[in-house]
Amino acid sequence: MKKKVMAILCAAGMLVSMTACGAAKPADASGAATDAAATDAAVATDTSAATDTADAAGATIDLGDAKFLTEGVLNVGAEVGYPPFEDFAEDGTTPIGYDIDIITAVADKLGLDVNIINTAWDGIFAGIGVNYDVACSAVTITPERKETMLFSDPYINNYQAVVLPADSDQKIESFNDLDGMTIALQKETTSDILMSDYKSTGTIDIQIVANEKITSCFTQLENGEVDAVVVDSTVADGFINSSDAFKIAYEDQAEAEQFGIAMAKDNTGLQTAINQALKELESEGYIQECYDYWFGSAAE
Protein backbone atom coordinates (compact mmCIF):
# COMPACT_ATOMS: atom_id res chain seq x y z
CA MET A 1 0.00 0.00 0.00
CA LYS A 2 2.73 2.38 1.07
CA LYS A 3 4.56 1.74 -2.21
CA LYS A 4 1.49 2.48 -4.29
CA VAL A 5 0.92 5.78 -2.52
CA MET A 6 4.55 6.73 -3.16
CA ALA A 7 4.25 5.82 -6.83
CA ILE A 8 1.13 7.94 -7.23
CA LEU A 9 2.75 10.86 -5.43
CA CYS A 10 5.82 10.61 -7.67
CA ALA A 11 3.71 10.52 -10.81
CA ALA A 12 1.69 13.50 -9.63
CA GLY A 13 4.87 15.40 -8.83
CA MET A 14 6.24 14.75 -12.32
CA LEU A 15 3.03 15.96 -13.93
CA VAL A 16 2.92 19.13 -11.85
CA SER A 17 6.54 19.97 -12.59
CA MET A 18 5.98 19.52 -16.30
CA THR A 19 2.86 21.64 -16.54
CA ALA A 20 3.95 24.28 -14.06
CA CYS A 21 6.40 25.79 -16.54
CA GLY A 22 3.57 26.75 -18.87
CA ALA A 23 2.21 29.30 -16.45
CA ALA A 24 4.84 32.02 -16.68
CA LYS A 25 4.13 34.56 -19.40
CA PRO A 26 7.12 36.39 -20.85
CA ALA A 27 7.14 40.08 -20.13
CA ASP A 28 7.32 42.74 -22.83
CA ALA A 29 10.39 42.07 -24.90
CA SER A 30 11.73 45.60 -25.27
CA GLY A 31 12.41 47.00 -21.84
CA ALA A 32 13.35 50.43 -23.06
CA ALA A 33 10.90 50.70 -25.88
CA THR A 34 9.12 53.69 -24.48
CA ASP A 35 9.43 55.49 -27.76
CA ALA A 36 6.30 55.91 -29.83
CA ALA A 37 8.05 54.63 -32.93
CA ALA A 38 8.63 51.30 -31.28
CA THR A 39 5.05 50.32 -30.67
CA ASP A 40 3.90 47.04 -32.02
CA ALA A 41 1.73 48.63 -34.67
CA ALA A 42 3.98 47.28 -37.38
CA VAL A 43 3.96 43.72 -36.18
CA ALA A 44 0.90 42.62 -38.12
CA THR A 45 2.51 43.04 -41.53
CA ASP A 46 1.12 41.40 -44.58
CA THR A 47 3.09 39.02 -46.76
CA SER A 48 5.01 40.22 -49.85
CA ALA A 49 6.92 42.67 -47.70
CA ALA A 50 8.98 43.76 -50.67
CA THR A 51 6.14 45.75 -52.19
CA ASP A 52 3.98 46.86 -49.29
CA THR A 53 5.29 50.05 -47.87
CA ALA A 54 2.12 51.85 -46.93
CA ASP A 55 0.06 48.99 -45.52
CA ALA A 56 1.68 48.64 -42.15
CA ALA A 57 1.63 51.63 -39.89
CA GLY A 58 5.14 52.82 -39.11
CA ALA A 59 6.72 50.83 -41.91
CA THR A 60 7.88 53.58 -44.19
CA ILE A 61 11.04 52.11 -45.65
CA ASP A 62 11.16 50.38 -49.00
CA LEU A 63 12.68 46.94 -48.57
CA GLY A 64 13.79 46.88 -52.21
CA ASP A 65 15.30 43.55 -53.13
CA ALA A 66 16.16 42.54 -49.57
CA LYS A 67 16.09 38.80 -49.05
CA PHE A 68 14.58 37.12 -46.00
CA LEU A 69 14.50 33.56 -44.78
CA THR A 70 10.87 33.93 -43.70
CA GLU A 71 8.50 36.37 -45.35
CA GLY A 72 7.59 39.27 -43.08
CA VAL A 73 9.95 38.24 -40.30
CA LEU A 74 13.42 39.50 -39.46
CA ASN A 75 15.28 36.55 -37.99
CA VAL A 76 18.05 37.83 -35.74
CA GLY A 77 20.96 35.78 -34.45
CA ALA A 78 22.28 36.88 -31.06
CA GLU A 79 24.44 35.36 -28.37
CA VAL A 80 22.06 36.03 -25.51
CA GLY A 81 24.23 36.26 -22.41
CA TYR A 82 26.24 39.41 -23.06
CA PRO A 83 24.66 42.05 -20.86
CA PRO A 84 23.75 44.81 -21.35
CA PHE A 85 23.62 44.16 -25.09
CA GLU A 86 21.57 41.02 -24.86
CA ASP A 87 20.58 38.96 -21.89
CA PHE A 88 17.58 36.98 -20.73
CA ALA A 89 15.07 38.71 -18.50
CA GLU A 90 14.30 37.27 -15.08
CA ASP A 91 11.84 34.82 -16.62
CA GLY A 92 14.76 33.23 -18.43
CA THR A 93 13.16 33.21 -21.88
CA THR A 94 12.67 36.82 -22.97
CA PRO A 95 15.74 38.40 -24.55
CA ILE A 96 16.28 41.99 -23.45
CA GLY A 97 19.09 44.49 -23.97
CA TYR A 98 20.39 47.34 -26.05
CA ASP A 99 20.81 45.27 -29.23
CA ILE A 100 17.36 43.76 -28.83
CA ASP A 101 15.76 47.21 -28.51
CA ILE A 102 17.65 48.56 -31.50
CA ILE A 103 16.89 45.62 -33.79
CA THR A 104 13.23 45.58 -32.68
CA ALA A 105 12.92 49.27 -33.54
CA VAL A 106 14.67 48.71 -36.87
CA ALA A 107 12.31 45.86 -37.72
CA ASP A 108 9.33 48.01 -36.78
CA LYS A 109 10.58 50.65 -39.18
CA LEU A 110 10.82 48.00 -41.90
CA GLY A 111 7.39 46.60 -41.05
CA LEU A 112 8.77 43.24 -40.00
CA ASP A 113 8.23 40.97 -37.05
CA VAL A 114 11.33 40.18 -34.97
CA ASN A 115 12.41 36.67 -34.15
CA ILE A 116 15.47 36.49 -31.88
CA ILE A 117 17.42 33.28 -32.26
CA ASN A 118 19.79 32.55 -29.40
CA THR A 119 23.04 31.15 -30.77
CA ALA A 120 26.56 30.48 -29.55
CA TRP A 121 29.12 33.18 -30.29
CA ASP A 122 31.33 30.51 -31.81
CA GLY A 123 30.11 30.17 -35.36
CA ILE A 124 27.60 33.02 -35.12
CA PHE A 125 28.70 34.33 -38.53
CA ALA A 126 28.32 30.96 -40.21
CA GLY A 127 24.59 31.12 -39.42
CA ILE A 128 23.96 34.40 -41.25
CA GLY A 129 21.70 33.72 -44.22
CA VAL A 130 21.26 30.13 -43.06
CA ASN A 131 19.61 30.26 -39.65
CA TYR A 132 18.91 33.99 -39.45
CA ASP A 133 18.96 37.05 -41.70
CA VAL A 134 21.17 39.26 -39.57
CA ALA A 135 23.47 38.97 -36.58
CA CYS A 136 22.92 41.76 -34.07
CA SER A 137 25.02 40.77 -31.11
CA ALA A 138 27.56 43.48 -30.31
CA VAL A 139 29.42 42.65 -33.51
CA THR A 140 32.48 44.83 -34.07
CA ILE A 141 32.99 45.98 -37.63
CA THR A 142 36.46 44.82 -38.70
CA PRO A 143 38.13 44.74 -42.13
CA GLU A 144 38.47 40.94 -41.96
CA ARG A 145 34.81 40.46 -41.20
CA LYS A 146 33.86 42.90 -43.97
CA GLU A 147 35.41 40.52 -46.47
CA THR A 148 32.83 37.85 -45.76
CA MET A 149 29.74 39.82 -44.73
CA LEU A 150 27.96 43.15 -44.98
CA PHE A 151 27.61 45.57 -42.10
CA SER A 152 25.05 48.24 -41.38
CA ASP A 153 26.22 51.68 -40.31
CA PRO A 154 27.57 51.57 -36.75
CA TYR A 155 24.97 52.05 -34.03
CA ILE A 156 27.30 52.37 -31.04
CA ASN A 157 30.94 53.17 -30.31
CA ASN A 158 33.01 50.97 -28.12
CA TYR A 159 36.53 50.81 -26.66
CA GLN A 160 38.60 47.99 -25.25
CA ALA A 161 38.69 48.31 -21.49
CA VAL A 162 40.68 46.73 -18.67
CA VAL A 163 38.62 45.83 -15.61
CA LEU A 164 40.24 45.26 -12.21
CA PRO A 165 38.84 44.38 -8.79
CA ALA A 166 37.61 47.56 -7.08
CA ASP A 167 40.20 47.32 -4.30
CA SER A 168 43.18 46.86 -6.63
CA ASP A 169 45.85 49.55 -6.60
CA GLN A 170 47.37 48.56 -9.96
CA LYS A 171 47.93 51.42 -12.39
CA ILE A 172 47.12 50.60 -16.01
CA GLU A 173 48.03 53.34 -18.45
CA SER A 174 48.26 51.23 -21.57
CA PHE A 175 47.90 47.60 -22.53
CA ASN A 176 51.67 47.27 -22.11
CA ASP A 177 51.13 47.63 -18.35
CA LEU A 178 49.37 44.26 -18.38
CA ASP A 179 52.80 42.63 -18.79
CA GLY A 180 53.15 39.56 -16.60
CA MET A 181 49.50 39.45 -15.59
CA THR A 182 46.88 36.76 -16.08
CA ILE A 183 43.86 38.09 -17.91
CA ALA A 184 40.46 36.67 -18.78
CA LEU A 185 38.51 37.47 -21.91
CA GLN A 186 35.78 36.06 -24.10
CA LYS A 187 36.91 33.75 -26.88
CA GLU A 188 36.99 35.05 -30.47
CA THR A 189 35.98 38.59 -29.54
CA THR A 190 37.90 41.72 -30.53
CA SER A 191 39.39 41.68 -27.03
CA ASP A 192 40.71 38.20 -27.75
CA ILE A 193 42.09 39.20 -31.15
CA LEU A 194 43.78 42.29 -29.71
CA MET A 195 45.29 40.61 -26.65
CA SER A 196 46.40 37.53 -28.60
CA ASP A 197 48.16 39.89 -30.97
CA TYR A 198 49.93 41.66 -28.08
CA LYS A 199 51.02 38.25 -26.86
CA SER A 200 51.94 36.56 -30.15
CA THR A 201 53.98 39.50 -31.40
CA GLY A 202 55.90 39.38 -28.15
CA THR A 203 54.91 42.91 -27.15
CA ILE A 204 53.96 41.78 -23.66
CA ASP A 205 54.08 38.49 -21.82
CA ILE A 206 50.61 37.61 -20.52
CA GLN A 207 48.63 34.51 -19.67
CA ILE A 208 45.32 34.56 -21.51
CA VAL A 209 42.34 32.69 -20.15
CA ALA A 210 39.65 32.48 -22.82
CA ASN A 211 36.05 31.73 -21.89
CA GLU A 212 32.88 31.01 -23.81
CA LYS A 213 30.86 33.53 -21.83
CA ILE A 214 31.90 36.97 -20.61
CA THR A 215 30.10 36.30 -17.33
CA SER A 216 32.61 33.51 -16.55
CA CYS A 217 35.43 36.06 -16.87
CA PHE A 218 33.92 38.28 -14.21
CA THR A 219 33.32 35.30 -11.90
CA GLN A 220 37.00 34.38 -12.31
CA LEU A 221 38.02 37.95 -11.52
CA GLU A 222 35.81 37.98 -8.44
CA ASN A 223 37.18 34.62 -7.25
CA GLY A 224 40.74 35.82 -7.82
CA GLU A 225 41.62 33.32 -10.54
CA VAL A 226 42.73 36.12 -12.85
CA ASP A 227 44.21 39.58 -12.37
CA ALA A 228 42.17 41.49 -14.93
CA VAL A 229 39.46 41.20 -17.54
CA VAL A 230 39.80 42.78 -20.98
CA VAL A 231 36.39 43.51 -22.42
CA ASP A 232 34.32 45.92 -24.48
CA SER A 233 33.95 49.18 -22.53
CA THR A 234 30.20 49.16 -23.01
CA VAL A 235 29.93 45.74 -21.39
CA ALA A 236 32.29 46.80 -18.61
CA ASP A 237 30.01 49.78 -17.95
CA GLY A 238 27.09 47.44 -17.57
CA PHE A 239 28.91 45.22 -15.08
CA ILE A 240 30.19 48.15 -13.06
CA ASN A 241 26.68 49.59 -12.89
CA SER A 242 25.38 46.40 -11.36
CA SER A 243 28.28 45.48 -9.08
CA ASP A 244 30.71 47.55 -7.05
CA ALA A 245 33.30 44.76 -6.94
CA PHE A 246 34.96 45.96 -10.16
CA LYS A 247 36.37 49.14 -11.66
CA ILE A 248 37.52 50.17 -15.10
CA ALA A 249 41.26 50.79 -14.91
CA TYR A 250 41.91 51.73 -18.51
CA GLU A 251 40.01 52.46 -21.69
CA ASP A 252 41.79 52.43 -25.01
CA GLN A 253 40.31 55.71 -26.28
CA ALA A 254 42.61 55.79 -29.30
CA GLU A 255 41.16 52.82 -31.08
CA ALA A 256 37.38 53.12 -31.10
CA GLU A 257 35.47 50.18 -32.37
CA GLN A 258 32.07 50.33 -33.88
CA PHE A 259 29.27 47.81 -33.63
CA GLY A 260 27.14 47.07 -36.65
CA ILE A 261 24.42 44.69 -37.71
CA ALA A 262 25.94 41.92 -39.83
CA MET A 263 24.18 40.36 -42.79
CA ALA A 264 24.95 38.13 -45.74
CA LYS A 265 27.39 39.45 -48.35
CA ASP A 266 24.80 39.42 -51.15
CA ASN A 267 21.98 41.07 -49.21
CA THR A 268 22.67 44.69 -50.22
CA GLY A 269 18.93 45.46 -50.30
CA LEU A 270 18.63 44.66 -46.61
CA GLN A 271 21.74 46.71 -45.82
CA THR A 272 20.24 49.80 -47.49
CA ALA A 273 16.93 49.34 -45.69
CA ILE A 274 18.52 48.83 -42.27
CA ASN A 275 20.80 51.84 -42.72
CA GLN A 276 17.77 53.95 -43.60
CA ALA A 277 15.96 52.69 -40.48
CA LEU A 278 18.99 53.41 -38.26
CA LYS A 279 19.24 56.92 -39.70
CA GLU A 280 15.60 57.61 -38.87
CA LEU A 281 15.95 56.21 -35.36
CA GLU A 282 19.03 58.37 -34.83
CA SER A 283 17.21 61.55 -35.89
CA GLU A 284 14.22 60.66 -33.72
CA GLY A 285 16.56 60.39 -30.76
CA TYR A 286 15.63 56.76 -30.08
CA ILE A 287 19.20 55.47 -30.23
CA GLN A 288 20.36 58.03 -27.65
CA GLU A 289 17.39 57.21 -25.43
CA CYS A 290 18.15 53.52 -25.62
CA TYR A 291 21.80 54.21 -24.87
CA ASP A 292 20.98 56.22 -21.77
CA TYR A 293 18.60 53.53 -20.59
CA TRP A 294 21.06 50.64 -20.85
CA PHE A 295 24.43 52.24 -20.14
CA GLY A 296 23.29 54.95 -17.76
CA SER A 297 25.64 57.46 -16.27
CA ALA A 298 28.71 55.24 -16.53
CA ALA A 299 28.76 55.75 -20.28
CA GLU A 300 29.46 59.47 -20.13
Binding site: D122, G123, A126, P143, T148, N176, G180, T182, A184, K187, E188, D197, Y198, S200, T201, G202, T203, D205, Q207, V209, A210, N211, E212, S216, T219, Q220, E222, N223, G224, E225, V226
Partner: protein, 336 residues
Protein backbone atom coordinates in the same frame (compact mmCIF):
# COMPACT_ATOMS: atom_id res chain seq x y z
CA UNK B 1 64.36 -13.46 -26.83
CA UNK B 2 60.92 -15.05 -27.05
CA UNK B 3 59.45 -11.57 -27.18
CA UNK B 4 61.67 -10.63 -30.13
CA UNK B 5 60.72 -13.76 -32.04
CA UNK B 6 57.02 -13.25 -31.49
CA UNK B 7 56.99 -9.68 -32.73
CA UNK B 8 59.70 -9.94 -35.38
CA UNK B 9 57.77 -8.31 -38.22
CA UNK B 10 56.24 -5.38 -36.32
CA UNK B 11 59.62 -4.59 -34.74
CA UNK B 12 61.33 -4.43 -38.11
CA UNK B 13 58.59 -2.20 -39.52
CA UNK B 14 58.74 0.13 -36.52
CA UNK B 15 62.55 0.26 -36.69
CA UNK B 16 62.44 1.23 -40.38
CA UNK B 17 59.84 3.94 -39.71
CA UNK B 18 61.90 5.35 -36.83
CA UNK B 19 65.05 5.49 -38.97
CA UNK B 20 63.22 7.19 -41.86
CA UNK B 21 61.64 9.72 -39.49
CA UNK B 22 64.99 10.51 -37.88
CA UNK B 23 66.65 11.02 -41.25
CA UNK B 24 63.81 13.19 -42.59
CA UNK B 25 63.69 15.11 -39.33
CA UNK B 26 67.40 15.85 -39.51
CA UNK B 27 67.07 17.05 -43.09
CA UNK B 28 64.30 19.57 -42.53
CA UNK B 29 65.31 23.22 -42.77
CA UNK B 30 66.06 25.16 -39.59
CA UNK B 31 64.09 28.13 -38.34
CA UNK B 32 66.82 30.51 -39.56
CA UNK B 33 66.78 29.00 -43.05
CA UNK B 34 63.02 29.37 -43.20
CA UNK B 35 63.10 32.94 -41.92
CA UNK B 36 65.59 33.90 -44.60
CA UNK B 37 62.99 33.00 -47.25
CA UNK B 38 60.63 35.71 -46.03
CA UNK B 39 60.02 38.71 -48.28
CA UNK B 40 62.38 41.68 -47.83
CA UNK B 41 59.44 43.76 -46.67
CA UNK B 42 58.67 41.32 -43.88
CA UNK B 43 62.35 41.01 -42.92
CA UNK B 44 62.50 44.76 -42.55
CA UNK B 45 59.46 44.81 -40.29
CA UNK B 46 60.91 42.05 -38.13
CA UNK B 47 64.12 44.04 -37.69
CA UNK B 48 62.16 47.19 -36.83
CA UNK B 49 60.10 45.32 -34.26
CA UNK B 50 63.17 44.69 -32.13
CA UNK B 51 63.12 48.28 -30.96
CA UNK B 52 59.37 48.90 -30.88
CA UNK B 53 57.18 48.88 -27.77
CA UNK B 54 54.10 47.80 -29.73
CA UNK B 55 55.36 45.04 -31.98
CA UNK B 56 53.54 44.15 -35.17
CA UNK B 57 54.87 40.87 -36.53
CA UNK B 58 53.68 37.50 -35.26
CA UNK B 59 56.24 34.81 -36.02
CA UNK B 60 54.85 31.30 -35.65
CA UNK B 61 57.45 28.58 -36.07
CA UNK B 62 56.25 25.03 -35.65
CA UNK B 63 58.39 21.97 -36.00
CA UNK B 64 56.37 18.78 -36.33
CA UNK B 65 58.65 15.69 -36.51
CA UNK B 66 59.48 15.68 -40.24
CA UNK B 67 57.99 18.95 -41.48
CA UNK B 68 58.08 22.46 -40.20
CA UNK B 69 55.82 25.40 -40.71
CA UNK B 70 56.52 29.10 -40.53
CA UNK B 71 53.83 31.73 -40.52
CA UNK B 72 54.53 35.45 -40.50
CA UNK B 73 51.70 37.89 -40.12
CA UNK B 74 51.44 41.52 -39.22
CA UNK B 75 48.75 43.47 -37.50
CA UNK B 76 47.80 47.09 -37.87
CA UNK B 77 47.33 49.23 -40.95
CA UNK B 78 49.75 47.30 -43.13
CA UNK B 79 48.58 43.71 -43.18
CA UNK B 80 50.77 41.07 -44.76
CA UNK B 81 50.87 37.38 -44.08
CA UNK B 82 53.27 34.77 -45.41
CA UNK B 83 53.36 31.03 -44.86
CA UNK B 84 56.11 28.51 -45.54
CA UNK B 85 56.39 24.77 -45.25
CA UNK B 86 59.80 23.16 -44.86
CA UNK B 87 60.49 19.58 -45.85
CA UNK B 88 63.79 17.79 -46.69
CA UNK B 89 66.11 20.77 -47.22
CA UNK B 90 63.46 22.70 -49.14
CA UNK B 91 61.24 25.60 -48.17
CA UNK B 92 57.94 25.82 -50.04
CA UNK B 93 55.71 28.90 -50.02
CA UNK B 94 52.34 27.86 -48.61
CA UNK B 95 50.08 30.80 -49.37
CA UNK B 96 47.89 29.01 -51.89
CA UNK B 97 47.22 25.71 -53.61
CA UNK B 98 47.92 22.28 -52.15
CA UNK B 99 50.90 23.57 -50.11
CA UNK B 100 48.50 25.86 -48.26
CA UNK B 101 46.45 22.84 -47.19
CA UNK B 102 49.63 21.04 -46.11
CA UNK B 103 50.66 24.08 -44.10
CA UNK B 104 47.24 24.32 -42.47
CA UNK B 105 47.29 20.65 -41.56
CA UNK B 106 50.73 20.95 -39.96
CA UNK B 107 49.60 24.05 -38.09
CA UNK B 108 46.32 22.50 -36.85
CA UNK B 109 47.91 19.22 -35.82
CA UNK B 110 50.67 21.06 -33.99
CA UNK B 111 48.20 23.20 -32.11
CA UNK B 112 45.81 20.36 -31.24
CA UNK B 113 48.65 18.20 -29.96
CA UNK B 114 49.57 21.11 -27.73
CA UNK B 115 53.21 21.19 -28.91
CA UNK B 116 55.20 24.11 -27.62
CA UNK B 117 52.67 24.60 -24.82
CA UNK B 118 52.51 23.46 -21.23
CA UNK B 119 51.06 20.11 -20.14
CA UNK B 120 47.63 21.60 -19.69
CA UNK B 121 47.01 22.05 -23.39
CA UNK B 122 45.65 20.07 -26.31
CA UNK B 123 46.17 16.32 -26.57
CA UNK B 124 48.55 16.40 -23.60
CA UNK B 125 45.77 17.79 -21.43
CA UNK B 126 43.28 15.20 -22.71
CA UNK B 127 45.63 12.27 -22.06
CA UNK B 128 46.86 13.53 -18.69
CA UNK B 129 43.39 14.33 -17.39
CA UNK B 130 41.90 11.05 -18.62
CA UNK B 131 44.68 8.85 -17.23
CA UNK B 132 44.74 10.53 -13.83
CA UNK B 133 40.95 10.51 -13.65
CA UNK B 134 40.77 6.78 -14.31
CA UNK B 135 43.47 6.04 -11.73
CA UNK B 136 41.89 8.14 -8.98
CA UNK B 137 38.41 7.10 -10.08
CA UNK B 138 39.28 3.42 -9.77
CA UNK B 139 40.83 3.87 -6.32
CA UNK B 140 37.83 5.83 -5.13
CA UNK B 141 35.47 3.43 -6.90
CA UNK B 142 36.97 0.38 -5.18
CA UNK B 143 36.53 1.98 -1.77
CA UNK B 144 32.95 2.96 -2.62
CA UNK B 145 32.12 -0.47 -4.03
CA UNK B 146 33.42 -2.24 -0.91
CA UNK B 147 31.43 0.26 1.12
CA UNK B 148 28.27 -0.35 -0.81
CA UNK B 149 28.38 -4.14 -0.48
CA UNK B 150 29.51 -4.04 3.15
CA UNK B 151 27.09 -5.16 5.83
CA UNK B 152 27.66 -1.95 7.78
CA UNK B 153 24.47 0.07 7.21
CA UNK B 154 26.15 3.49 7.62
CA UNK B 155 29.02 2.70 5.26
CA UNK B 156 26.71 1.25 2.67
CA UNK B 157 24.33 4.20 3.00
CA UNK B 158 27.10 6.77 2.51
CA UNK B 159 28.48 4.94 -0.53
CA UNK B 160 25.06 4.51 -2.11
CA UNK B 161 24.25 8.17 -1.51
CA UNK B 162 27.54 9.27 -3.04
CA UNK B 163 27.02 7.12 -6.13
CA UNK B 164 23.42 8.32 -6.47
CA UNK B 165 24.49 11.96 -6.27
CA UNK B 166 27.41 11.84 -8.70
CA UNK B 167 25.69 9.64 -11.27
CA UNK B 168 22.50 11.64 -11.03
CA UNK B 169 23.97 15.04 -11.79
CA UNK B 170 25.73 16.18 -14.99
CA UNK B 171 29.51 16.30 -15.03
CA UNK B 172 29.47 19.81 -16.51
CA UNK B 173 27.55 21.17 -13.54
CA UNK B 174 29.84 19.32 -11.11
CA UNK B 175 32.76 20.96 -12.90
CA UNK B 176 31.17 24.40 -12.54
CA UNK B 177 30.49 23.79 -8.87
CA UNK B 178 34.06 22.70 -8.13
CA UNK B 179 35.62 25.54 -10.12
CA UNK B 180 33.26 28.48 -9.49
CA UNK B 181 30.91 27.76 -6.58
CA UNK B 182 33.22 26.13 -4.04
CA UNK B 183 35.95 28.83 -4.16
CA UNK B 184 33.22 31.50 -4.28
CA UNK B 185 31.67 30.25 -1.05
CA UNK B 186 34.89 29.50 0.82
CA UNK B 187 36.75 32.53 -0.49
CA UNK B 188 39.83 31.02 -2.11
CA UNK B 189 41.14 30.83 -5.66
CA UNK B 190 42.34 27.66 -7.32
CA UNK B 191 45.46 29.34 -8.63
CA UNK B 192 46.50 30.37 -5.12
CA UNK B 193 47.43 26.77 -4.29
CA UNK B 194 50.40 27.30 -6.61
CA UNK B 195 53.13 29.87 -5.95
CA UNK B 196 52.28 33.37 -7.13
CA UNK B 197 55.51 33.51 -9.14
CA UNK B 198 54.23 30.68 -11.34
CA UNK B 199 52.85 32.34 -14.47
CA UNK B 200 50.91 29.24 -15.41
CA UNK B 201 49.24 28.96 -12.01
CA UNK B 202 45.85 29.83 -13.46
CA UNK B 203 45.92 26.82 -15.79
CA UNK B 204 47.27 24.53 -13.09
CA UNK B 205 44.50 25.70 -10.77
CA UNK B 206 41.85 25.04 -13.38
CA UNK B 207 43.41 21.64 -14.10
CA UNK B 208 43.34 20.73 -10.41
CA UNK B 209 39.68 21.68 -10.21
CA UNK B 210 38.94 19.68 -13.35
CA UNK B 211 40.79 16.64 -12.03
CA UNK B 212 38.90 16.77 -8.73
CA UNK B 213 35.53 17.06 -10.46
CA UNK B 214 36.35 14.32 -12.98
CA UNK B 215 37.76 11.94 -10.35
CA UNK B 216 34.79 12.42 -8.01
CA UNK B 217 32.43 11.77 -10.91
CA UNK B 218 34.35 8.84 -12.32
CA UNK B 219 34.59 7.32 -8.83
CA UNK B 220 30.83 6.85 -8.82
CA UNK B 221 30.83 5.09 -12.18
CA UNK B 222 33.87 2.98 -11.32
CA UNK B 223 32.20 1.96 -8.06
CA UNK B 224 29.42 0.29 -10.01
CA UNK B 225 31.94 -1.36 -12.35
CA UNK B 226 33.92 -2.74 -9.41
CA UNK B 227 30.81 -3.78 -7.51
CA UNK B 228 29.36 -5.72 -10.44
CA UNK B 229 32.72 -7.41 -11.01
CA UNK B 230 33.03 -8.41 -7.34
CA UNK B 231 29.47 -9.68 -7.18
CA UNK B 232 29.94 -11.72 -10.34
CA UNK B 233 32.44 -13.96 -8.52
CA UNK B 234 30.81 -17.22 -7.54
CA UNK B 235 29.41 -17.40 -4.02
CA UNK B 236 31.09 -20.78 -3.50
CA UNK B 237 34.44 -18.98 -3.33
CA UNK B 238 33.36 -16.94 -0.30
CA UNK B 239 32.19 -20.13 1.39
CA UNK B 240 35.43 -21.93 0.55
CA UNK B 241 37.46 -19.03 1.95
CA UNK B 242 35.37 -19.00 5.09
CA UNK B 243 35.81 -22.76 5.47
CA UNK B 244 39.58 -22.20 5.33
CA UNK B 245 39.24 -19.76 8.19
CA UNK B 246 39.98 -16.55 6.25
CA UNK B 247 38.71 -13.23 7.50
CA UNK B 248 36.52 -10.95 5.36
CA UNK B 249 39.51 -8.75 4.55
CA UNK B 250 41.65 -11.72 3.50
CA UNK B 251 38.83 -13.14 1.38
CA UNK B 252 38.38 -9.85 -0.43
CA UNK B 253 42.04 -8.91 -0.78
CA UNK B 254 43.46 -12.30 -1.69
CA UNK B 255 40.64 -14.14 -3.44
CA UNK B 256 37.82 -12.00 -4.75
CA UNK B 257 39.34 -8.66 -5.88
CA UNK B 258 42.24 -10.17 -7.91
CA UNK B 259 39.77 -12.33 -9.83
CA UNK B 260 37.36 -9.50 -10.41
CA UNK B 261 40.06 -7.28 -11.97
CA UNK B 262 39.92 -9.18 -15.24
CA UNK B 263 36.14 -8.89 -15.33
CA UNK B 264 36.18 -5.15 -14.82
CA UNK B 265 38.81 -4.33 -17.46
CA UNK B 266 36.43 -4.17 -20.46
CA UNK B 267 34.18 -1.81 -18.51
CA UNK B 268 37.08 0.28 -17.27
CA UNK B 269 38.32 0.57 -20.84
CA UNK B 270 34.85 1.79 -21.77
CA UNK B 271 34.88 4.33 -18.95
CA UNK B 272 38.33 5.47 -20.06
CA UNK B 273 37.13 6.21 -23.57
CA UNK B 274 34.06 8.01 -22.23
CA UNK B 275 36.25 10.26 -20.07
CA UNK B 276 38.61 10.84 -22.98
CA UNK B 277 35.76 12.43 -24.87
CA UNK B 278 34.14 14.06 -21.84
CA UNK B 279 37.48 15.78 -21.23
CA UNK B 280 36.36 18.36 -23.78
CA UNK B 281 34.03 19.75 -21.09
CA UNK B 282 37.04 21.58 -19.64
CA UNK B 283 36.30 24.32 -22.18
CA UNK B 284 33.87 25.59 -19.53
CA UNK B 285 36.70 26.43 -17.16
CA UNK B 286 38.97 27.97 -19.79
CA UNK B 287 41.20 25.00 -20.51
CA UNK B 288 41.84 24.03 -24.11
CA UNK B 289 41.62 20.37 -25.09
CA UNK B 290 41.61 18.90 -28.62
CA UNK B 291 37.92 19.58 -29.22
CA UNK B 292 38.05 23.14 -27.92
CA UNK B 293 41.12 23.99 -29.98
CA UNK B 294 39.60 22.55 -33.15
CA UNK B 295 36.40 24.51 -32.53
CA UNK B 296 38.42 27.68 -31.99
CA UNK B 297 40.34 27.20 -35.22
CA UNK B 298 37.04 26.60 -37.01
CA UNK B 299 35.64 29.93 -35.76
CA UNK B 300 38.73 32.04 -36.18
CA UNK B 301 39.86 30.73 -39.56
CA UNK B 302 36.59 29.34 -40.92
CA UNK B 303 38.37 26.15 -41.90
CA UNK B 304 36.30 22.99 -41.80
CA UNK B 305 39.39 20.89 -42.58
CA UNK B 306 40.52 21.18 -38.98
CA UNK B 307 38.20 18.39 -37.84
CA UNK B 308 40.01 15.76 -39.91
CA UNK B 309 43.28 15.89 -37.94
CA UNK B 310 41.16 16.15 -34.76
CA UNK B 311 39.47 12.84 -35.52
CA UNK B 312 42.80 11.21 -36.39
CA UNK B 313 44.36 12.37 -33.12
CA UNK B 314 41.45 10.98 -31.09
CA UNK B 315 41.60 7.66 -32.96
CA UNK B 316 45.34 7.32 -32.41
CA UNK B 317 44.89 7.94 -28.68
CA UNK B 318 42.02 5.46 -28.33
CA UNK B 319 43.89 2.86 -30.42
CA UNK B 320 46.94 3.16 -28.18
CA UNK B 321 45.02 2.86 -24.93
CA UNK B 322 42.78 0.14 -26.37
CA UNK B 323 45.95 -1.86 -27.07
CA UNK B 324 47.19 -1.34 -23.52
CA UNK B 325 43.88 -2.41 -21.98
CA UNK B 326 43.90 -5.50 -24.18
CA UNK B 327 47.35 -6.43 -22.87
CA UNK B 328 46.25 -5.90 -19.26
CA UNK B 329 43.19 -8.04 -19.81
CA UNK B 330 45.31 -10.90 -21.25
CA UNK B 331 47.69 -10.54 -18.34
CA UNK B 332 44.96 -11.04 -15.77
CA UNK B 333 43.33 -13.90 -17.66
CA UNK B 334 45.64 -16.36 -15.89
CA UNK B 335 43.05 -16.73 -13.14
CA UNK B 336 40.36 -18.09 -15.43
Amino acid sequence: MKFLKKYKKPIIVIAIIVVVVIVLGALKPTEQEMLSCASPEMQKMIREDATRTRKRVTVTYESLIVVNYLSLSTSGAQEISEHYVGFVRNVYPADEGPMKVVGQMVNYTYRMLGCGENLMHGAKLTILLTTLTVIFGLLLGTVLALGKISKNKILSGISSGYIFFFRGTPLLIQLFVVYFTVPGIFGFAWRDIFPASDAEAVYKGAFTAALIAFALNSGAYCAEIVRSAIQSIDKGQYEAAKALGMTYGQTMGLIIVPQSIRRMIPNVSNEFIMILKDASLVFAISLMDITTISKNIMTSEGSYLVFIPALVIYLVITAFFGFIFNKIEKRFSVYE
